[in-house]
Symmetry: D2
Subunit: 322 residues, 4 copies
């Protein structure tokens, strides 16, 4: 292993920089050169490579976003695009590629491996925590803490005005963010894509909450692929409960920010783990977290299997909201 490259792809997530730093430092300490690729697969195709030194990643661990930038690339979905990408790697004698990103990014990585024998290791970086093969993705912990801070604030206003609030959090097909934020925020109702709550159930919960003398109610719902759908939901709920329902769509504030201790730790462990595997001659896999350990899953499994929602956790939420 003489040299490797690293890129970030898909939505940015806090801790991506910490992962880039770990990849770079671990490689350099082990005598492996490192190239950073800017703008994800776009830069891979358009040959935006920059050699990384220790100084390139100084004072980086605590920064949100990604210093390598990220973008979505249509061209990389085509065989021609991927061929250009592989050519750029080969002309520099780059033996391995670390892809920090989500589901879609790994699908691309897998094709690059199949078609051009590029050795790829995936590092799960997305706030959604929707990746099979890891208990946690880089960015998830920061995102739920950011959302929770917002919820704690909204609870103040909900109580002061004795009002119902719907808080819409991120998460397309996966309710992990809503689930953790709902539990941590003491929400009266949590609605996730895997277990949607009907308007009638919501109305019942709000009425029960009023009956118990609670000051205000919080309903946490996943964006579920329809950002802003909560405005419509609020109208329907208002019609049921005959009192005003406010909406807050947290949106992009959940993405950025200084990563938490846990995200820095996970990012560091996974970053190192990815390079260690490449050096050991292993690839076509994603490194993930299981308890205290770094574990592997073949990329083919990662992209074909769906992460199960923790039903025990969902039940816990139900109990705690009573």
């Amino acid at each position: 292993m003489k040299s490797i490259a690293v890129l970030t792809s898909g939505g940015d997530a806090p801790g991506m920089n910490a992962a880039i730093r770990a990849v770079t430092r671990y490689a350099l300490v082990n005598g492996v050169e490192v190239y950073g690729i800017r703008r994800g697969y776009c830069g891979l195709i358009e040959d935006e490579f920059v050699e990384l030194q220790l100084s390139s990643v100084a004072n980086l661990i605590q920064r949100g976003g990604t210093t390598l930038l990220t973008a979505r690339s249509e061209e990389f979905r085509t065989p021609e695009g991927r061929k250009k990408a592989a050519t750029n790697l080969k002309k520099r004698d780059i033996d391995g590629l670390v892809v920090i990103g989500g589901d879609g990014s790994f699908r691309g990585a897998q094709k690059l491996s199949e078609e051009h024998k590029v050795k790829v290791v995936g590092v799960p970086g997305t706030i959604d925590n929707d990746i099979y093969g890891t208990e946690a993705t880089i960015g998830f912990d920061t995102a739920i803490n950011t959302a929770l801070e917002a919820i704690d604030r909204i609870r103040d206003t909900a109580s002061a005005h004795e009002r119902t609030f719907i808080v819409e959090v991120m998460g397309r097909d996966c309710g992990e963010i809503a689930l953790y934020v709902g539990v941590g925020g003491g929400a009266e109702v949590i609605s996730i894509p895997e277990k949607p709550t009907s308007v009638l159930e919501m109305a019942e919960a709000v009425r029960y909450s009023l009956k118990r003398g609670k000051l205000g109610s919080l309903i946490v719902v996943s964006e579920a692929g329809k950002p802003g759908h909560s405005y419509e939901l609020a109208k329907k709920l208002e019609a049921e409960v005959k009192s005003p329902v406010r909406v807050v769509v947290l949106g992009h504030i959940q993405r950025g920010g200084t990563p938490t201790a846990r995200d820095r730790a996970i990012a560091s462990a996974l970053g190192i783990g990815s390079v260690r595997r490449l050096i050991a001659g292993r690839s076509d896999l994603m490194v993930g977290i299981k308890g205290d350990l770094v574990v592997d899953t073949p990329l083919s499994e990662v992209v074909s299997k769906k992460k199960e929602i923790r039903l025990d956790y969902y039940e816990m939420a139900q109990i705690l909201s009573k």
Copy 2:
């Protein structure tokens, strides 16, 4: 002065609890009884009074929201409502009333004073900082810091994706929040009700920003009485700049949360100032902040004059965004 009452009215603001605490402690230390009225003018009409002790306000200074609750009262807009209110005060021999709230609340207070000779002192509590007669209102400093934290996070994502974001902050007729948040967040464009920026001007700023090689642009706009209007704005801007524009509506997360040091200080000073004036036999005024001092303004002026936007500050914003 044997006893006074205190209420919070209108939208809640961080620091209202610190003001309630200061009112209570200063009154009790000076031998004056204090009643807290729950739910603002609603509770004043419906006789929801509770006597406050030192222990009622313990461990309260750092709490967001308002422990006395707040509400909007239609009935208080009628002479009959205000009569009930005055009766409730008189039957308890309450000599003075501290109203913590905004513009609308002071209008009500003034009528109560005119019609029923209730001695009223206003304390400006609203995140909007739109009150004549004070440089700062209770809650403004916390709100802009909360919004700024969100902006700092959004900047991470805007840079990582090299994208334009519109961030909509609170502020009906008054651009103070947008102005401070825009300056503090290094926004490329700030649009406030007093000086709206056209879509064409925004587009020009975004293009200039791209030309200078900036990673992403931030546009901060006031809600301006039309919460959510930024979605429409984004569409128009996208059509001009031919690239995606994302929207974040900060909404109610700007209201709650632990008050900042400054809001606790202002709230404490104004809370004490209000009781001091009642004890000194003065009323029909609002206490406000001017530099290091607590100053008075007649309620009649407060409700009839409009706070001027700081044009020097707006110009500063223009210079800094270049």
Copy 3:
């Protein structure tokens, strides 16, 4: 199972309130009465019991400290003390006791069980993460995030002045806090009780750091049972490196504060888990976290075995600090 009691013992930790809430809600939902005991074992001996309702734990999940208070009890170390404790439980027909605390608290719980057949379940609550049988204790995640925030601030000053700082964090025999904070803060040196770093090694690291052109160095050390020992250490290090070394002892700011999302989640899961086991007739055990699961360990093992430091993690720290 008709009724249970819950207490917090030893040093307070963020998330204890979330655990109390989960214990209370899960018990009540399952038809079991709950008593809160104030001041830990002191209150158990002195009969300070208070019945808990749903409303007792409302708006509690986000609060730092412990609403049940905590204290160290000398009397509980004596057979007479524990006899009084058992008598107080029996006279109320309390069938099970949940003890939220650390090592020392579990030792007491175990004796109570042995001598008086009290059914006890332990919930690990301590910021130190030094308990055998769980990957994480309640409060650890918040503590490391708080410490990390402080470190990020100190890094600003260390860089601005190009200076060396020693930051002393909590942790008596266990280096977990220092390890995570050191990794997350990008420390140049980490010294933990399990692997102390000598002054000469520190000096070497500081000199290497200077040679590489770094702006300032951070050394994170555990308190290691000698709070404030860093002042002495700094003098020795100054003598070696011939330049000023500053010291910050983080101390008690690591204890309090709003719990993180993870601490709220762990506390909720463990709180529920503890009552679930009591209802199922199981006791003399501690509930702990392993990955996504709640697992059991006999109390006898918990108090006799020592949690191993994660050496892989320590090695990671070594690599990342190069």
Copy 4:
């Protein structure tokens, strides 16, 4: 005015970067070249100048510390040192110098002006808020918010254990930090250099607090030139109140961190104000904040007069702690 230079000197303060940014942008927009001098007066003597562009100050407003670095210079206290400094400015035809720093830095600036006719404008940047001629210094607002966050955490532990804590905050001759932090944190006692509280008075307050049934007491004291003096104080107080007293020395965590909204605003206004005055041909003055305005004070007054402590504020603290 063809070109100016800017440096930061003395202890770093959050917002210094925002000031550097404002100086740079305002100068460039007005056609004036800007040089940044690294390491304060050291770099001025040793000729460490770097030309600043718009891109040099991008993404800087939210950063703690100072990107220009800071240092204390013994050589600048000598006429020879200042001569070298003046020579370096003159050889580059630099017409004006902006010094961001505190008291000591302004004394140096004044000498440079007297001896070598360098046109100097001071910008008050120090967390201590101890400068004559301004209501607020850059960094003060951030420092008190950071300290307050720590205090809020300590209050959790003080309450949970019903214990007394002494919290030592920064401030050599000036009690501003202790005063604001004590008021905002609801401290039972505040001791400042201008009005030291005796151990006996502290003991009385602690006993009164216990009598009132308060859970724990907080005593906020200024460092007062003797960092760590609180350990000694705690021993004396323990002897009086016969119960344990804990100490937290906040130290350097008060210096760094992301600046607050107010510090960014003040830094921006003062940074612009300083260049505006140089362009207008005015110098030998410090720009300061008075309410909403930027005001001037001759440097000779700034360095010879002492900022008065706000006695009204101190009295407020006394009342609120009762």
